[in-house]
Symmetry: C2
Subunit: 353 residues, 2 copies
C-alpha cells in the first residue's frame, strides 16, 4: 500500500460542492495520489471529473469500489457514509469522513490538524472531519487556549448557503433574481431540505441550520458544542452556539466571545499569538478598517481573524470575528490536510482493523 | 398649544427612509395632527409628500420653520439635529430626535415606551429615540428583567442595509445584480459612507457599522452598550455587542445571550412573559420550525422573539433571537409612539425651556 509511487485515493461524492473542492485541493497540494477514483451515486457514474489534466471517469460508490484504495475521502452525506465507510475500512482504506456520521464515536478521532494532529495516531481506519463552522472556530481558539487557557465560548454564526449543498446555492441565486424582479420566491430547499417547512433565504436570515433537537437547539448548534469539546479535549468547556444561515454563497463568519483562565491576557497578546499561529491569518486593524469578510476569505485555505477586543466588563473576556471558506478549511482542505498529516507522520499504515 | 383640534407636527428629513415611514405611521395611527409640516434640505423643498390623501409641500428645514410647531420628529442625521433641534425647542416644540446627537445627554430622556415611558415626564423639550438595534433588544429584555432581574447581555447583530439609508439600499440592489451578472461591484457607500474604505455588501457580511472608536468597538456597538444601560436605568449592567451589516433590506435580527439574577427562570416562564408583554410577539416553536426572520417582520410594528433556550452550562443563562423592522419599531414607530404617549399622559405641555 502506498510507498514511493504514492497512493490510491477515492473521493466519495465527487460531483458535490465539497467533493469537487477535494479533487481540486488534492491537485493544488500535489498530494501523492498516483490514482484518483471519483465515486458518486449510480446516477452520476460514467460522467468525468478533471484531475491533473486528465478526465477521470466517475464510478458508482459501492463496497467493491474500495478494493485497493489507500485513502477514501467521504463527502456524500451521512447516509452514504453510514452505508459505505465501514466497507471501505474493511477493504484496507483509511477513511476521512466529512459527514456527521461518526464524529462523536469515541473510537473515531475528530481532527483539525492545527489543534489535535496527534489524535490521528490512534485511528482504526476511520477519521472524522469536523463540522465546517466548528473547524474555523477551534483553529482560532487553540493558540489562545495553549497560552491563556479557555473557560467559556459563546458563538453566533453567519453561515453561507454552500454549506447546505449546490441546490441551496441555486436556490439563493434563483430567489435573489426573483426578489429583484418582484416575483414570488417559492422556497423548497432551505433551511433544511428534508424538514417540513421552507423559508426564503434571499435578503433574509434563517436562525435554523439542520434540524431541531429535543433541547431546542439545532443539530448544527449541538455539533459546534459537542465537537469543540471533543477536538479540544475539554469535555467541561462551556460552549454555546446560535447558528444562522445567511444570503451569501461562500465562507462562514462567526462572532465569538471567550473567557480565558489567565488574567494577563491582553488584546495585543492575543493578536500576536494568532498572527504567529499555523493556518491563521490576522486581519485586524480598526484604524484602516481591516477585518475579514466572507467574500475576502473565499477561495483561501486559511482561517482569518479580526475585530479582537476585550470585553468592557470582564477582564478575561474577549470578542473576535472568524471567517473561513466553508468548502475549503471547513471541509475539503481540512480533509486533504488530514491525509497529508497521515502520510507525513507515517500513520497511514497503522490502519489495521 | 394642541388640544381638541390636535397638533402641528413637523417631520424633519421628510424625504428619507425613516422620515417617510414617520409620515406613514402618523397617518396609520391616526395621530391627532391637524397640520403636518414636512421639512427637508433646501434641495428637496418644493417637492410634496402624501398625507391623509393630500399632497403637502416640503419646506426647507431652518429655525423659523418651527414657529407654531407642537411636535417635531427629527430624522435627518446628527448634524441637522445638532443644528436645528434646540432651535425647535426654543420655539416651543417638543423634539423627538431619532439621531445619536443627544441620546447620551443626561438631561435628555432616551425612551422606548414599553421600557421607560415614565422618563418622558421629565423632558425639557427634547426626547431622544434610541438606536434601532438597541430598541428591539431592550423591548425584549425588559419583561424578563422585571420578573427575573438581569446581570449580563451579550449580543451579536444581523442588521439590514436600510439602517444606513436609501443610498445603501440602492447599493445592495445594484451590487446584487452586478454580482449575478459577473460584473464588478464598486462599493462606495457601505460600511460607512464617510469612512476611508468601502467593501462590497452583496453576498457578504461586514463586521463594521458606523465608525471605529478608540477602544476597538464600533460606534454602533457602543450605542447598543451605552443606550441599553441608560434606557434600563442599569448603569452597571454588563453589556457587550458585535454589530454586523448583512445583505438584506429591512429588519434587524439579534442573537442575544443573557444571564438573569433569579435561578427560578425557565424557558417556559420566559416564553409566557414575552408572549404577554406589550409590543412583543412570541414566535417560538421548534416543533413547527416557528421563529421570526427579517422578511417575516418587515412592515410590522412589533418586536418578534423566538429560539428561546436555556444555556447548557449556565442555569441562569438563556439565548434568544429578536427581530424587528428597523425602520418602524427601530425608528419611525418608536418616535410616533413617544409622541402618542406624550399626548396620552398630557406630558406635551410640560415642555418649557
Amino acid at each position: 500500500m502506498g510507498g514511493q509511487n504514492g497512493y490510491v485515493v477515492a473521493v466519495v461524492g465527487a460531483t458535490g460542492a465539497v467533493g469537487q473542492k477535494m479533487i481540486q485541493t488534492l491537485e493544488q497540494r500535489n498530494f501523492p495520489a498516483h490514482t484518483l477514483i471519483p465515486l458518486a451515486s449510480k446516477r452520476s457514474a460514467g460522467k468525468t471529473v478533471s484531475y491533473k489534466g486528465e478526465e477521470v471517469t466517475i464510478q458508482e460508490a459501492k463496497p467493491e469500489a474500495f478494493e485497493g484504495v489507500d485513502i477514501a475521502l467521504f463527502s456524500a452525506g451521512g447516509a452514504v457514509s453510514r452505508q459505505l465507510a465501514r466497507e471501505a475500512v474493511k477493504r484496507g482504506a483509511v477513511v476521512i469522513d466529512n459527514t456527521s456520521a461518526f464524529r462523536m464515536d469515541p473510537d473515531v478521532p475528530l481532527v483539525v490538524p492545527e489543534v489535535n494532529e496527534e489524535d490521528l495516531a490512534d485511528h482504526n481506519g476511520m477519521i472524522a472531519n469536523p463540522n465546517c463552522s466548528t473547524i474555523q472556530m477551534v483553529a482560532a481558539l487553540e493558540p489562545i487556549r495553549k497560552t491563556f487557557g479557555l473557560k467559556r465560548v459563546i458563538v453566533s454564526t453567519y453561515q453561507a448557503v454552500s454549506g447546505a449543498g449546490t441546490q441551496a446555492v441555486e436556490e439563493l441565486k434563483q430567489q435573489t433574481r426573483a426578489f429583484l424582479d418582484g416575483k414570488e420566491l417559492n422556497p423548497e430547499i432551505l433551511p433544511v431540505k428534508s424538514d417540513q417547512k421552507h423559508y426564503p433565504i434571499a435578503f433574509n436570515a434563517l436562525p435554523q441550520i439542520d434540524v431541531f433537537q429535543e433541547n431546542g437547539y439545532t443539530f448544527e448548534e449541538m455539533k459546534m458544542i459537542n465537537e469543540t469539546k471533543k477536538i479540544m479535549h475539554m469535555p467541561d468547556l462551556k460552549v454555546a452556539a446560535t447558528c444562522v444561515r445567511l444570503p451569501f454563497f461562500t465562507s462562514h463568519a462567526e462572532s465569538v466571545y471567550i473567557e480565558v483562565e489567565d488574567d494577563t491576557a491582553t488584546v495585543e497578546k492575543l493578536k500576536n499569538l494568532l498572527a504567529a499561529a499555523e493556518g491563521i491569518v490576522l486581519e485586524d486593524d480598526p484604524d484602516t478598517q481591516t477585518y475579514p469578510t466572507p467574500l475576502s476569505a473565499e477561495g483561501k485555505r486559511d482561517v482569518f481573524v479580526g475585530r479582537i477586543r476585550q470585553d468592557l466588563d470582564e477582564k478575561k473576556g474577549f470578542h473576535f470575528w472568524v471567517v473561513s471558506d466553508n468548502l475549503l478549511k471547513g471541509a475539503a482542505w481540512n480533509s486533504v490536510q488530514i491525509a497529508e498529516r497521515l502520510v507525513k507522520n507515517n500513520w497511514l499504515t497503522r490502519s489495521v482493523v
